[in-house]
C-alpha cells in the first residue's frame, strides 16, 4: 500500500498528529480536562467552516478559533472541568455556528464530512508541512511549561504556595491543547479528536505509572493506533477514522478490563477513603 503517494502522505501526517496528540493528551487526561479538549474540537468546527466561508484554508480557522477559545477557557478559571455546563452550552453553540456557516456555503457538504470525521487520505504535501510546523510549536510550548504544568496538575494547592502561576499555566496549556486538537482534527476530524487525544493517553496511564514511561507509551500507542487504523482501512475500505476510533476504544477497554480483574475490591476501598475535594471557587 506504500506505493501510493496518498498513502505515504497519510502515514506521515497521521504519525505527526498522533505523536503530538499522544503527548499533549497525556496531560489533558492527567488534569481531568478531557471535556475541555472535546469542546475545543467542536469550536474548531465552527472556526473551520467560518474560514472556508470567507475564503481561508479551514486549518487556519480551526487553529484561530480553538486557540482563542482555549485561552478564554483558561482565563475563566483554574479547574475548567468544574464548569461542564458552561462548556457544554458553548460546545453546542459552536456546532450550531458551524451549521450556520455551512448553510451559507452550500457547495460544501463533502468538506463538512471531512471536517467532522477527518479525511487523512486527502492530505497533501503542503498540509504535512503545516502539520509539522504546528507540531513543533505545540511541543515546544509544552516543553517550556512542562515542569510547572506537572506540579500544578498533581498538586495545585502546593504549586500555588511554591509560586507557580496557576492561571497562566492553565491558560497556556489550553492554548497548547487547542493546537493539538487542530492537528488531530486533520486526521480523525473535529468530532473524533478523542480517539487520538484521550484514548491512547488514558490507556498509557493504566499501563505505566511513571511520568516519562507514560508519556512515551502514550505517544507510541497513538502512533500505532493511527497507522494500524490506516492499514486496516486500506484493506477493508472502512473509513480511517472509524478504524482509529475502534483501536483507541479497544486499547482502553482491554487495559481497563485486565486492570479491574486483578484488583481486589477490598483494596480499592482504601484509595477512596480520601475523597477528592473541589477547589474553592
Amino acid at each position: 500500500m506504500l506505493e501510493y503517494d496518498f498513502m505515504r502522505n497519510a502515514f506521515v501526517a497521521a504519525g505527526v498528529a498522533a505523536v503530538v496528540s499522544g503527548l499533549v493528551g497525556y496531560f489533558l487526561v492527567l488534569r481531568g480536562q478531557t471535556f475541555a479538549g472535546h469542546a475545543l474540537g467542536h469550536i474548531g468546527f465552527a472556526g473551520a467552516t467560518g474560514a472556508v466561508l470567507i475564503g481561508v484554508a479551514p486549518v487556519w480557522g480551526l487553529v484561530g478559533f480553538t486557540v482563542a477559545a482555549g485561552i478564554a477557557m483558561g482565563m475563566m478559571g483554574e479547574r475548567i472541568s468544574g464548569r461542564d455546563v458552561a462548556i457544554g452550552i458553548v460546545l453546542s453553540l459552536a456546532l450550531g455556528f458551524g451549521l450556520l456557516f455551512l448553510h451559507y456555503y452550500t457547495a460544501f457538504a463533502t468538506q463538512a464530512t471531512a471536517l467532522l470525521f477527518g479525511n487523512v487520505l486527502a492530505v497533501d504535501r503542503s498540509m504535512i508541512a503545516t502539520l509539522i510546523g504546528l507540531g513543533v510549536i505545540t511541543l515546544g510550548g509544552l516543553a517550556a511549561i512542562m515542569r510547572p504544568l506537572i506540579f500544578a496538575s498533581l498538586q495545585p494547592e502546593l504549586a500555588e504556595a511554591k509560586g507557580v502561576p496557576l492561571r497562566f499555566v492553565s491558560t497556556a496549556f489550553l492554548a497548547i491543547v487547542a493546537l493539538a486538537v487542530s492537528e488531530s482534527a486533520q486526521i480523525v476530524g473535529t468530532l473524533m479528536v478523542f480517539s487520538l487525544m484521550v484514548g491512547p493517553p488514558a490507556t498509557a496511564q493504566r499501563l505505566a505509572t511513571g511520568l516519562w514511561s507514560g508519556l512515551a507509551l502514550s505517544a507510541g500507542l497513538a502512533m500505532a493506533e493511527a497507522w494500524l487504523g490506516i492499514a486496516i482501512a486500506y484493506y477493508t475500505d472502512w473509513p480511517v477514522s472509524f478504524c482509529i476510533a475502534l483501536l483507541s476504544a479497544l486499547g482502553y477497554f482491554v487495559t481497563c478490563g485486565s486492570w479491574l480483574s486483578h484488583r481486589s475490591p477490598f483494596r480499592a476501598g482504601g484509595a477512596t477513603e480520601e475523597k477528592p475535594r473541589p477547589l474553592s471557587p
Binding site: 492527567l30 488534569r31 481531568g32 516543553a143 517550556a144 511549561i145 512542562m146 515542569r147 510547572p148 506537572i150 506540579f151 500544578a152 498533581l154 498538586q155 495545585p156 494547592e157 502546593l158 504549586a159 500555588e160 504556595a161 511554591k162 509560586g163 507557580v164 496511564q205 493504566r206 505509572t209 511513571g210 511520568l211 507514560g214 483494596r267 482504601g270 484509595a271 477512596t272 477513603e273 480520601e274 475523597k275 477528592p276 475535594r277 473541589p278 477547589l279 474553592s280
Partner: protein, 278 residues
C-alpha cells in the same frame, strides 16, 4: 544571639484579612526556633489563612509579619508545607516517586529533570519516613494514611527549617494519626525544625507540643496548654461560654456541655471546610 534570630515567625500588631473578614486583628506573637506549635481553634478561625500568610500568599493588611526575620516570600524553600485541601484526582495512576518529585523545583520553567543528587535526596527522605515502598506504587492504590506519609516526605524534602502542616490528621484512622504525630515530632526534634501543626483535637498533641496557638474571633492566644486552654481565654476566643474539663490526663473543651472540638470534627467530616482559601 538577638531576638530576631531565635524567632522564626513574628507578628507585630498584624491584621490579616480574607474576603473582607479579619482573621487576625492587631495581633502580636512570636514563635521561636525549634518549637512544636499546635494550632487550634474553631472552624473558620483562620488556621489555614495564617499558614497561607506565613507562606507569603496573603500579605497582612496592617502591621508586620516576619518569617526568618524577613517579609515572607512565595516559594521559600526553607518552608515545608502540607496543604489541608489536597486535590487528588480519584484515578491518578502516577507512582509515588514521580508525584513528590514534581514538587522539587516545580516552579521552574522547562522540562522536568532530576539530578542524581535530587533522586538520592528523595530516596533518602522516603526511607526516613518509612515510605520507601510507596515510591513505585500508583497514588490511586494508596490509602489515606499512605498518601499522608508521602506528602509528609514531600514537605521534608530539601531540609526545611519550618514545617506548616495543615490538618494532617484529617481522614486518617487513629493508628495512622499517632504515627504521623510521632514521625513529625522525631523529625523536627532531630533537625531543630519549627513546626506549626493544626488539628481539631488537642489531646493527641499534648504529649508533643511545646506551646499551643489558639485562634478565634480575630484573636490569637499563644502559650503553654496550662496558660491558654483555660475557660476565660477560650471563652473569649470562641465568643461563647467555654468550660475546660480535665479528666484522666485529657482535656475537654466544652460549650454548654457539648465537646466543641469533637463537634467541629464531626461537622468537618460531613461538609466542606469553611476556611477554604480564597
Amino acid at each position: 544571639m538577638n531576638v530576631s534570630e531565635t524567632n522564626v515567625i513574628e507578628l507585630d500588631r498584624a491584621t490579616i484579612r480574607i474576603s473582607g473578614r479579619s482573621i487576625l486583628a492587631d495581633t502580636s506573637f512570636a514563635i521561636r526556633r525549634g518549637e512544636f506549635i499546635g494550632v487550634l481553634g474553631p472552624n473558620g478561625a483562620g488556621k489555614t489563612t495564617l499558614m497561607r500568610a506565613i507562606l507569603g500568599l496573603i500579605p497582612p493588611s496592617a502591621g508586620s509579619l516576619r518569617v526568618f526575620g524577613n517579609t515572607p516570600q512565595r516559594g521559600d524553600p526553607a518552608i515545608g508545607y502540607v496543604p489541608q485541601v489536597r486535590t487528588v484526582l480519584p484515578d491518578l495512576r502516577v507512582r509515588g516517586f514521580d508525584f513528590i518529585a514534581s514538587s522539587l523545583h516545580g516552579e521552574r520553567w522547562g522540562m522536568p529533570s532530576l539530578a542524581r543528587a535530587d533522586r538520592k535526596m528523595i530516596d533518602a527522605t522516603l526511607v526516613s519516613v518509612g515510605a520507601r515502598d510507596l515510591a513505585e506504587r500508583p497514588l490511586s492504590e494508596m490509602s489515606g494514611g499512605e498518601r499522608q506519609r508521602l506528602l509528609l516526605a514531600q514537605a521534608l524534602l530539601g531540609e526545611p527549617r519550618l514545617l506548616l502542616l495543615d490538618e494532617p490528621l484529617i481522614g486518617l484512622d487513629y493508628r495512622y494519626q499517632e504515627a504521623v504525630i510521632e514521625l513529625v515530632r522525631r523529625f523536627a526534634r532531630d533537625r531543630n525544625i519549627t513546626v506549626l501543626f493544626s488539628a481539631h483535637e488537642l489531646n493527641q498533641l499534648i504529649g508533643v507540643l511545646d506551646r499551643v496557638l489558639y485562634l478565634g474571633n480575630g484573636h490569637a492566644a499563644l502559650g503553654t496548654v496550662a496558660e491558654v486552654v483555660t475557660a476565660p481565654v477560650l471563652s473569649q476566643l470562641y465568643g461563647a461560654d467555654i468550660n475546660v474539663v480535665h479528666a484522666d490526663g485529657h482535656i475537654f473543651v466544652l460549650s454548654r456541655g457539648r465537646d466543641v472540638e469533637r463537634a467541629d470534627h464531626l461537622h468537618d467530616e460531613g461538609h466542606d471546610h469553611e476556611h477554604h482559601h480564597a
